[in-house]
Symmetry: C2
Subunit: 236 residues, 2 copies
DNA sequence: TCAAAAGTGTTACAACTACACCCATGG
DNA sequence: CCATGGGTGTAGTTGTAACACTTTTGA
């Protein structure tokens, strides 16, 4: 059965750091633990990797269980493997971060799991090393978003430029110049202007845009450089 | 004993993608397998994660076993976890990539392990999914080196600017303008000029420089932007 | 008619690229 | 004394940041 004899075998978990954007703030989806250990504490959603499952599949399964969403933007972040990170039994965790359109998730599922959205700067204490995971995910999100057009993943199909700008401003906690922002954005050729306007948040109304899917993949690696001096944001 | 009952447990390996630079070419350190399966094939150096060891410790142990080197620049790359990636038994591998000064490793150790340095574009076929790991590591090296001053790790304490330029040119497989290169480099404030010259590779001799260690850590996150249009290198 | 947000244009400055010449020295 | 690689200076271009005004329309 075990062909590599004499070697230790480990439990493997996939934990998901799930970001969402409600139009004003970036949020994180956390679950309230119903059982011991650490009952009544907040935690990331996670699950064990199964026998014939890749870690990516495990992470996608966990995410779907919680939100009902498939085909979500998700990337492997880091393996957390301190021997004592889980007090019950040694478990290594592969952390993933996911970006979802907050309006698409299925509320009844998050309810079943006692999940709640938290603002990034109002996070509760989390179990185990989940605080550290979130910290790394926030850093990685800022890093990646400064270089690649991933933040679209947090918005609905149709979105306006002011919405997108609010998202960037939220993530970098700083005000951006609207004139320069829209110029840079449109110059990427990633957006297609739609004939409709969004009229809820202003009287004049802002045109909707959608992603140009073909250009998106091609230009994914291209640097956007929306954020002046991006390095100042990567400190921690 | 097992407190999370009914869950599968997995073998975990740490595999190291070890880059070195000999002054002219970037190379990869590979070992020649002495045992089945895949006897006589080439592979990355790896080892199983042990009972009370973090993955990072395992990777450092593996690296030290092969090269005799400690405190080497190393970062976690990615977990490879396809169920059938190891034909013997399911094993997940955490891939690490390391940058070492090729002149510092201990030759007798690499000899014991039947290790050899290969040029990046003359790599043999590797076992399992190691080809894929190397491909990802190469991409990550280009990515990271375009943004952060990590390539110094491949050079000795003292190095000249032409040496460093040869390294960048090797990694990006393209000629860089020497005037612009040295200007950008010196403008980072990361280098300290030494009074000595290296006289082997030219008649005039090139001044040695060393890293300013204090500035190095502070400026690590700063973008260097040595490579014009870095995105063209990240395609694969 | 006015408040509030959307959208566009211009100018000054900084960064980058491209390019040509001088320097030092071993053979 | 000349071939070889090291080192520096400059001008033209491009990209970015800073800034002010007009447009639209619901209340």
């Amino acid at each position: 059965m075990h062909k590599y004899t004499g070697q230790e075998r480990f439990l493997l978990a996939a934990d998901c750091i799930i970001f969402g954007f409600d139009g004003a703030n970036i949020k994180l989806l956390l679950i309230h633990r119903g059982l011991e250990p650490m009952k009544d504490h907040w935690s990331l959603m996670g699950g064990f990797v199964q026998k014939n499952e890749t870690p990516d599949e495990a992470a996608n399964r966990v995410l779907e269980d919680l939100t009902g969403l498939k085909n979500v933007y998700m990337e492997q972040l880091h393996v957390f493997g301190a021997p004592d990170r889980d007090p019950v039994e040694r478990t290594l965790s592969i952390a993933y971060f996911a970006l979802i359109d907050i309006h698409k998730y299925e509320k009844q599922l998050t309810h079943e799991h006692h999940a709640e959205w938290f603002e990034l700067n109002e996070l509760p204490e989390l179990i185990f090393d989940h605080n550290e995971m979130v910290k790394m995910a926030k850093k990685q999100l800022r890093y990646k978003a400064a270089l690649h057009p991933i933040l679209f993943q947090l918005l609905p199909e149709k979105f306006t430029i002011p919405q997108l700008q609010a998202l960037y401003e939220g993530i970098y906690q700083s005000k951006l110049d609207d004139r320069n922002f829209s110029r840079k954005l449109l110059s990427t050729g990633l957006l297609i202007k739609l004939p409709e306007k969004e009229k809820l948040s202003s009287k004049k109304g802002a045109f909707y845009y959608k992603l140009d899917q073909s250009n998106y993949l091609e230009n994914f690696e291209a640097f956007l450089n929306f954020i002046p001096n991006p390095d100042r944001f990567f400190k921690d």
